[in-house]
Amino acid sequence: MSDIFQETILHHYEHPSNKGKIENPDVKISDTNTLCGDKVTMYARLNGRVLEEVKFDGAGCAISMASASLLTERAKGMSIRDVIELGQRDVLEMLGLESLTPMRIKCAMLGVRTLQKGLIEYESKKPV
């Protein structure tokens, strides 16, 4: 049954990676999934255009929390550009899922969309 709650997701839900705050982060941004009430805050410390450290905080369902946790692992060391280009396919792949219903896809995308918004804001504020 429920292939959706397989090992990776449950593991990251119960033992999230990089959960917590970053002191004096370059990026700090929160968002909620209105439909569900999932809440997430994404933190990043940058070195030039590269994400040196990524953390998250929040509360929500297994899908939203596991995907935020997986994202922090994945995004570390990536460039801003590459993180901004992450899409649904990438997130599903991280989660080890083939598909999700439209409702749950929103949970899965909460972390990455939030981080992307934060990076875009960061870029637009940075003196060129």
Binding site: M1, S2, I4, F5, L10, E14, L35, C36, G37, D38, K39, A59, G60, C61, A62, I63, R104, C107
Partner: protein
């Protein structure tokens, strides 16, 4: 004689569906109810034989449709103890409350007057009043206390001379609590305040008599009581309808229209601008007949028994916490709960795989969730076609939840 839910299920085609190979156990009745064949067929029949605009046609078909529409109004209004001309057809409870907000509160109250709502309300009984605040009307809320009852003490404290309207739900869509509506109405009336009761969760589930309750306004939705979507009612006392301003402008609600000024039709037409949902009214009238045949006291008894059983079973599960009053006499068939360590959404997803449909979220009542200190709850809500076996399915599906999440917790 109690309801035979298994027999009744035969009237509901959708309940013959299976999901993920499992029998469909529908426990989201507080959101919307399923429709019996007689209602579905009545809608089809209307469109196959009687479809017409109403009130203005001088041909036979239009007379027939007008007759159906007005008979539906009389039938539905009588179901809650009202007179035909006291029922305005609206889309649902939300529109009913917004109509009172615009046509009564905004149009008739004065700056500084207060509307007293409660922390137990659905967003539909909070946001319409917030939208009036920029116009100078004040808003206050009676507090929740105990296991999820409205605090009578707080109510008596918050009601003041400026309180012109008291509005509260008859039954909570999250906690299940049934409020002592006539008691509250009496306090409000003694204070000179008008009373709006949100009946979205009561009309479908128990005998309701607006006169006995002492409601000045009463709002409800057809789709939550076996009726079609897109139709519902606002009951209002005739003298209030007389004094209220129109809500929407357009056809049907006018007496005479000039470019400079217009005059209004008599209520209820005055509040029904535009072509009405005649088919919807006919379908809802059929639903009301179905419920009347079942007998609303038996519907209430049935749900009380189901709730008692569900409460007992849920509370005996490890890690399950049930919200709301414990006494089935004081609650409707709506049970919110949480399972330790499992987010309500994940719970609902796993239950879905077992064929059991419950809701998870804030149920359009964030202040209740805030009061409970949670961001979401799981909610099972019952109706006439549910029985003990449905609750057994729920409980056994919770076992699956434990299997998946539990072994790790």
């Amino acid at each position: 004689m109690s309801l035979d839910a298994e027999r009744l299920r035969e009237d509901f085609p959708i309940l013959r569906r299976t999901f993920h190979g499992k029998r469909f156990v529908y426990l989201d009745n507080a959101a919307t109810t399923q429709k019996p064949s007689c209602v579905i067929d009545r809608l089809s029949e209307f469109y196959r034989l009687y479809n017409s605009n109403v009130h203005r046609g001088a041909y036979t078909l239009a007379e027939e449709a007008t007759d159906l529409y007005e008979k539906s109004r009389a039938n539905i209004s009588a179901f809650i103890g009202g007179k035909p001309e006291e029922l305005i057809f609206v889309r649902g409870a939300t529109e009913a409350i917004n109509m009172v907000a615009y046509s009564y509160a905004l149009a008739r109250l004065e700056k500084g007057d207060t509307i007293l709502s409660t922390e137990m309300e659905h967003h539909s009984n909070i946001v319409p009043w917030q939208l009036l605040q920029p116009h100078g009307l004040r808003l206050d809320f009676v507090k929740l206390s105990g296991k999820g009852e409205l605090s009578l003490e707080d109510f008596k404290e918050k009601i003041t001379r400026r309180t012109k309207l008291v509005t509260f739900t008859h039954a909570s869509n999250v906690l299940g609590t049934i409020n002592p509506a006539s008691e509250f109405a009496k306090i409000a009336h003694d204070n000179g305040s008008k009373v709006l009761v949100d009946g979205a969760q009561s009309v479908p589930h128990m005998p309701v008599d607006v006169r006995e309750l002492g409601a000045d306004f009463y709002a409800f939705s057809g789709h939550k009581m076996l009726g079609p979507m897109g139709i519902g009612g606002l009951y209002a006392k005739s003298d209030l309808l007389e004094e209220m301003a129109p809500f929407q402008g357009g056809g049907e609600m006018i007496k005479e229209v000039g470019l400079d000024a217009s005059t209004w039709a008599e209520p209820p037409q005055k509040f029904e601008a535009g072509t009405p949902n005649v088919a919807g009214s006919v379908g809802l009238s059929e639903a009301v007949d179905y419920l009347r045949r079942l007998d609303m006291s038996r519907v209430r008894e049935h749900e009380k028994r189901l709730s008692a059983y569900a409460l007992q079973e849920l509370e005996s599960q490890e890690g399950v916490r049930v919200f709301g009053p414990g006494d089935p006499e004081r609650r409707g068939g709506v049970i919110s709960f949480e399972v330790k360590g499992v987010h309500p959404h994940d719970l609902a997803t796993i239950l879905d795989r077992e064929g059991v449909a419950i809701r998870s979220g804030h149920h359009c009542a964030q202040p209740v969730a805030d009061w409970l200190g949670v961001s979401a709850t799981a909610r099972a809500s019952f109706y006439i076609y549910n029985d003990h076996t449905d609750i057994d399915s729920l409980i056994s599906a919770l076992g699956m939840v434990r299997k998946i999440f539990g072994r790790r917790a």
